[in-house]
């Protein structure tokens, strides 16, 4: 890789027309897909500029998704850490139980606009799969969800939910049979069904324009936080924290704050069994730049450039890459990327359940696990906002197993 790009004055002006955030991003796809990627880019730009599209999206976000999601002052959690005020952005209260629906709603409206008649998606935890299946049901489009066979096993309730919603779930057995392999298989489907199929990517990664488009659809989170925080405290927060798998919930809450340099941004990657164990899913903290799934970004890879398997208790974070904008924000120093282990996250999961009566998704629990450091960083009078990206009902079996209990 080249040296990190110089810090620009306008962090929100990226990507460029080539889909680059500094050295990261781009469109590394087979030629067969390239015309489709251009078509999508043009269609997205037209939709973005069309007030009718924005109005339609906004209406569905209000009446179907249930936006705005609350910004909740977590009083007991704040007391527990004894420092900065902690607010939770309640994305887990959205329809289908996570932030994933924000993006799916945007993309399904775009797919309809483009005249596509078949939707494909990849999923890890099943949250994006459920959100995809949901919007496909709502608009009457057939939906095929690729899911690693390992994830099908550990997220059974979500597989059943997708089936109930009428989606076809394809268990992927190739490679490590997790999220990256599901994405490979979805790309193979797309390359084969170029005429009618829309690929609904679930995170702010993949080839341009997906990282930008998914970020834009998820930025509603950060925009609401700005307004809600001004209403609640009359000022912006000192820090924003989010877990990072591919990075969509994190970039969604970060992006509207990129140019407010007083707002510290913390992404939390999954450290699995520990960074030293080698069994983790922390692309920035434990990887190197490379190309996978259409973009240049930090990746877990061996010395020969083969992608290595990610490991995390959380299926939604179990991915060897990260969205390209995060790679760039890391290099230019605008955001800080921490890690949380499986064990840290389990403890944070139970803590939130017991102090606030909220079961967080095990993904979101990774962000919760780093609150002690973040609270300390911003000081006693500080304000921290944490993106509670999803609810934990889907994870109770996993948590029980790790606690050595049977349910």
């Amino acid at each position: 890789m080249n040296a990190p790009s110089p810090a620009p004055n306008d962090y929100s002006a990226y990507p460029d027309a080539q889909g680059r955030f500094g050295d990261y991003g781009g469109r590394y796809v087979p030629e067969t897909l390239m015309p489709l990627v251009h078509e999508l880019d043009a269609a997205y730009r037209a939709a973005k500029a069309d007030p009718a599209f924005q109005a339609e999206l906004s209406s569905f976000l209000t009446h179907y998704v249930g936006r705005p999601s609350p910004l909740y002052f977590a009083e007991r959690l704040t007391q527990h850490y004894g420092g900065a005020k902690i607010y939770l952005k309640r994305e887990e209260l959205n329809h289908t139980g996570s932030h994933k629906i924000n993006n799916c709603m945007g993309q399904i409206l775009l797919a309809r606009r483009m005249g596509k008649t078949r939707i494909i998606a990849e999923t890890g935890a099943g949250q994006h799969g459920v959100a995809s299946a949901t919007v496909c049901a709502r608009f009457g489009l057939p939906c095929v969800v690729y899911m690693g066979a390992v994830d099908v096993e550990r997220q059974k309730p979500n597989v059943f939910r997708m089936n109930l919603l009428g989606a076809q779930v394809e268990a992927v057995t190739s490679g490590s049979a997790t999220l990256k392999d599901a994405m490979n298989e979805a790309l193979r489907d797309w390359v084969t069904n170029v005429h009618d199929t829309y690929y609904m990517i679930g995170t702010a990664a993949g080839m341009h324009p997906y990282p930008e488009m998914v970020r834009d659809f998820q930025s509603v989170i950060g925009q609401e936080v700005r307004e809600q925080m001004m209403a609640a405290e009359g000022r912006l927060p000192d820090a924003v924290v989010a877990c990072v798998g591919g990075g969509s919930n994190a970039i969604g809450i970060f992006h509207p704050f990129l140019n407010d340099e007083g707002v510290r941004l913390y992404g939390v990657e999954a450290a699995g069994e520990g960074m030293d164990s080698g069994r983790h899913a922390a692309a920035i903290n434990g990887g190197r730049p490379g190309v996978l799934h259409g973009n240049m970004t930090y990746l877990l890879q061996d010395p020969e450039g083969q992608i290595t398997e990610a490991h995390s208790i959380s299926a939604g974070l179990d991915y060897p890459g990260i969205g390209p904008e995060h790679s760039w924000l890391h290099d230019v120093g605008r955001a800080t990327y921490l890690t949380a282990t499986d064990q840290d996250s389990l403890e944070a999961f139970t803590l939130l359940a017991q102090l606030e009566g909220i079961l967080p998704a095990i993904e979101s629990a990774h962000a919760l696990a780093r609150l002690p450091e973040v609270v300390k960083d911003v000081g006693k009078d500080g304000i921290v906002v944490l993106n509670l990206s999803g609810r934990g009902d889907k994870d109770v079996a996993t948590v029980a197993a790790h606690l050595g209990r049977t349910i």
Binding site: Q18, R27, E31, T32, S174, K180, E304, G305, Q306
Partner: protein
């Protein structure tokens, strides 16, 4: 002057009035020693050009046969360095058969394009196909290969319109590779009648010989495509022979080379037959 190896081969084939048979094998499948033995045997079995796949963990445009071949090779410790080493060993016994490497971007990025180009040229490779580097991302790689007189072969596909073909062929040398089906390798079957007008489009856009690959499995199909194109590439059907041989405990080399032989025969006689029928 490695580029001339590809040019010389196509000039010779043109003089013979027949299409090229291009054999794709995965380097180190099922292991280094057998892979090298197969490689050395390919020209004798009738391969006019050789594509050598270097394995990648996440081959997004590959169907099950080549996915499995890559896994077999990786599980036996195959790497990009060893792939180049294998080509160097091949060059000790064959200085004329062109070799085109084929794979994915990340192992190349990991090594650095300049270093790779130098090492590949030193090993005796002639060209490179990278499935996930479209023309939009190709410049840094193309520059590095140019510096070593190696050919970059950007793929043309059924979704590439004439404007894109121009861009693709501007940075392509050696021969043009037309991917005959929208899909992954080894699944859909190519149809010669459908392919023919596209071959003409690609030939017109670049003036290079056009080889067709991605959906050709049988001698009949290979012969049909050989009548409309300058070369026929077969990959999945060959790596399937590796899998088959392993499953029934037969000699892998013998099985692969015998398949190459039947495909090459079909390609060699295709135009002669078409003249007589």
């Amino acid at each position: 002057m490695t580029k001339t190896r590809i040019d010389a081969r196509f000039a010779a084939l043109k003089a013979e009035g027949r299409a090229a048979f291009v054999a794709y094998v995965m380097a180190g499948d099922p292991d280094y020693a057998t892979g090298l033995e197969i490689l050395k045997g390919l020209p004798g079995a009738g391969a006019d050009l050789i594509e050598v796949g270097f394995p990648f963990s996440d081959p997004m445009a590959e169907g099950p046969p080549i996915q499995r071949a890559a896994l077999r090779a990786l599980n036996k410790g195959m790497t990009l360095s060893k792939t180049l080493q294998m080509i160097a060993a091949f060059r000790q016994v064959d200085q004329t058969t062109p070799i085109v490497l084929m794979g994915y971007a990340n192992p190349l990025i990991n090594r650095g394009f300049e270093t790779f180009a130098r090492d590949a040229a030193a090993a005796g490779a002639d060209g490179l196909i990278v499935v996930d580097i479209p023309p939009e991302e190709a410049d840094p790689l193309a520059d590095a290969l140019d510096a070593e007189q190696l050919s970059l072969l950007l793929l043309s596909t059924p979704t590439s319109d004439d404007a894109r073909l121009k861009i693709i062929l501007k940075r392509t040398s050696g021969f043009a590779y037309y991917v005959s089906v929208a899909g992954v390798t080894g699944v859909k079957e190519a149809d010669a009648a459908t392919v023919a007008p596209h071959v003409e489009r690609v030939r017109a856009a670049g003036g290079l010989p056009v080889c067709v690959g991605f959906g050709i499995k049988t001698p009949e199909r290979a012969a049909a495509v050989a009548r409309v194109a300058d070369g026929v590439v077969v990959g999945s059907a060959l790596v399937d022979e590796v899998a088959e041989a392993l499953a029934v405990n037969e000699s892998v080399t013998a099985r692969v080379l015998s398949k190459v032989n039947s495909l090459a025969k079909a390609v060699r006689s295709a135009r002669v037959e078409s003249l007589t029928v």
